[in-house]
């Protein structure tokens, strides 16, 4: 068996690592690093009997991932402090949201930039407040600025001048030029508040659990702000409601980008589906998910995510949603395209997905115009 297959197996069933040889562990840890899943792997197999040098390395990787989450959550806190005087309550997206809510895929997960969603009509205010709180443009040339503002789903990236961390301020979840038009107003309206004052972040999970399915009431997840005193009338941080969180993860994986790091995103989706649904017979959840995905014009992406998650990680899904659809196997190959030395493999398939990533972000004539402008300068 190949190292990527061992990685998938270890995530799905931690006991599967029993009996791996030294060289197999070497390859497994290398591909896990390549997929930015080493901390996740470390968390999954923490209770398994492991060779001593593997245990030491994974323990250190997990501790470091936990520390990185503290840094990521702190960025969210500082963003909150910058925006709360305006009454803007940003919705945390992706890794920071998982960590703030204490969702199961957060354990050991690497978190990159801070991604937040704010209403489009508050974008200018949010931008000004962040800049006065020490964030700066990464790209300040007029073409990039105009390009982002006209065509993208986010402001041009900002970086904090002393903490060196980036923030992506989104006003919707896909580029404006992409074909699906998600109902971002509904996402914002149904977002869930993060409240409370407990610390540390690893003990955040009071309100979450299997019982979440179907409920559309505002759920109070565990607590986030470690310092901010509870102040009447001021906003707090939010996360997407469960079905929207799945829709966004699937959109991020299949409708945006070239699927580099796709295995980690698929693991997120598997974890979210397992956490939010009560299993394959939880009709309420699966129906809600499908109708919500249709509302966002994202059902093809969400359905593909459900199928692939089931196929790789044995997610417990309704049999009506299982089965294979044309092209699924190429997605699978793309997601597992790494050899035992950690090198990316399947050059042609990767290239095709790279080209696809540009085509799905904007219509072809517009893509050509964009590349031409970038190339000429």
């Amino acid at each position: 068996m190949k190292a990527m297959a061992h990685l998938v197996a270890a995530l799905r069933d931690p006991a599967s690592v029993a009996g791996l040889s030294g060289p197999q562990w070497s390859a497994l840890m290398s591909v896990a690093r390549g997929e930015v899943l080493l901390g996740t792997l470390a968390h999954r197999v923490a209770d398994q009997p492991l060779p001593g040098s593997v245990a030491a390395e994974l323990r250190a990787a997990l501790a470091s991932a936990n520390q990185a989450q503290i840094h990521a959550l702190w960025e969210a806190e500082m963003c909150h402090r910058a925006l709360s005087p305006l009454g803007i309550t940003p919705v945390l997206l992706k890794g920071t949201a998982y960590a703030a809510a204490g969702l199961p895929n957060a354990a050991g997960r690497q978190i990159g930039d801070l991604d937040i969603l704010v209403p489009r009509d508050r974008l200018d205010e949010a931008e000004a407040a962040l800049i006065s709180a020490g964030w700066e443009w990464v790209k300040d040339d007029p073409y990039d600025q105009a390009y982002y503002r006209e065509h993208m789903h986010e402001l041009p990236p900002l970086i904090h001048k002393t903490r060196d961390r980036m923030i992506d301020v989104h006003h919707t979840i896909l580029p404006l030029t992409a074909k699906p038009r998600p109902d971002v107003a509904a996402m914002l309206a149904d977002a869930v508040a993060l409240l409370g004052d407990a610390y540390p972040p690893s003990r955040l999970r009071e309100g979450s659990g299997v019982g979440l399915n179907g409920e559309r009431t505002r759920l109070v997840f565990g607590s986030f702000p470690p310092l901010t005193p509870p102040a009447g009338g001021r906003g707090t941080l939010q996360i997407l409601c469960p079905t929207d969180m799945v829709c966004h993860a699937a959109a991020h994986l299949f409708a945006d980008g070239d699927m580099a790091g796709g295995l980690r995103n698929l693991w997120d989706i598997h974890s979210l589906l397992s956490e939010f649904s009560g299993g394959k017979d939880d009709d309420g959840f699966w129906q809600d998910l499908q109708s919500r995905a249709q509302q966002h014009q994202l059902w093809p992406a969400v359905h593909r995510a459900i199928r692939l998650s089931h196929s790789l990680f044995a997610t417990n899904i309704p049999s009506a949603m299982a089965g294979r659809v044309r092209h699924d196997k190429y997605y699978r190959i793309r997601m597992l395209a790494r050899d035992d030395w950690g090198r990316e493999s399947h050059r042609l398939i990767r290239l095709i997905f790279y080209i696809r990533s540009h085509l799905i972000r904007m219509p072809l004539p517009m893509l050509l115009r964009h590349l031409w402008t970038k190339w000429r300068r």
């Binding site: 040889s21 030294g22 060289p23 562990w25 070497s26 840890m29 290398s30 690093r33 390549g34 060779p51 001593g52 040098s53 593997v54 030491a56 390395e57 250190a60 990787a61 501790a63 470091s64 936990n66 520390q67 990185a68 503290i70 840094h71 030395w341 950690g342 090198r343």
Partner: protein, 288 residues
């Protein structure tokens, strides 16, 4: 074809993968006395490879890669393949190692007590450690000092010593030729030649040592000593650590303990011999 080698330096089990045979052959020769990774588990994979398959033969350019990659890194010519492999290994440790706090420093030991020498490249820390390591000292490492987060001890990491320019001749005069790698000329840092540490440094690489002196060598600076305040030592050590921030509070505890408990001194010296003499004199004062 993929060529590979595997061995252990201190706590790190390495796997090195190459598109070319020669660099791997050189590694296997120079690391011949090093043990295999424990239970066959390599914790770091370093790769040297061609950007495109045909660039293995056609104007070969060696890219330094591995589990961790630095964007913007320039490839090196194939004649510098051994250097590329060493750099790829260093890179994996610098960016990936989390089991100890890493200091970009050299270290030597005597009687279980160690000196940590911290400085930018060009400070002479590497040459100083190499020279001491041929005398009454055991070389713990010339590139990274690994500080234990719980016990505050230094774990040896005695990789090949990377000799540069003038220090090559200085060391070649003292050691037998079978401990020297090929002379690599025309690198971005001038000439480089690798030195295999003395047998005791390799044989005892699982024996940690307690740091008792922090040294900030300055080659070419005015000769003399200057005591370094704990806060300055703290700043300089965090500055020379690639994983201090990633490790969080355990690194804070280990590092504040180190700068509080261990005297820190900056030394200026003009020649290798002068540096060695200054270190020996200091050592006598800290009760060595």
């Amino acid at each position: 074809m993929t060529h590979s080698a595997s061995f252990r330096v201190g706590p790190v089990g390495f796997r090195i993968v190459s598109d070319w045979r020669e660099p791997v052959r050189q590694l296997q020769q120079l690391y011949g006395a090093y043990p295999a990774p424990i239970a066959g588990v390599a914790t770091a994979t370093a790769r040297i490879e061609a950007a495109r398959p045909w660039r293995r033969w056609l104007r070969p350019a060696v890219h330094i890669r591995g589990d961790y990659i630095i964007p913007d890194a320039l490839p090196l010519p194939l004649s510098q393949g051994l250097l590329s492999a060493e750099m790829a290994m260093n890179l994996q440790v610098a960016l990936g190692w989390r089991q100890h706090m890493l200091l970009h420093a050299s270290a030597v030991e005597q009687g279980g007590r160690a000196i940590i020498m911290v400085g930018a490249s060009g400070s002479g820390k590497s040459t100083l450690a190499a020279m001491l390591g041929e005398g009454d000292w055991r070389l713990l490492g010339d590139e990274f000092a690994m500080l234990g987060l719980d016990d505050g001890l230094l774990a040896p990491f005695p990789r090949l010593v990377s000799l540069k320019n003038e220090s090559i001749a200085e060391m070649a005069a003292r050691v037998s030729v079978d401990r020297l790698g090929p002379l690599i000329i025309g690198t971005p840092k001038g000439s480089i030649r690798h030195l295999v540490p003395r047998a005791d440094a390799i044989a005892r690489m699982d024996e940690p040592a307690r740091p008792v002196l922090l040294l900030f060598p300055g080659f070419g600076e005015q000769a003399g000593l200057r005591a370094v305040a704990p806060s300055e030592a703290f700043m300089r050590l965090t500055d020379s650590s690639t994983n201090y921030v990633a490790l969080g509070e355990p690194a804070f505890v280990a590092l504040t303990r180190l700068v509080r408990d261990v005297p820190a001194v900056a030394i200026g010296y003009a020649s290798g011999a002068q540096g060695v003499a200054a270190v020996e004199a200091l050592w006598a004062e800290v009760g060595g």
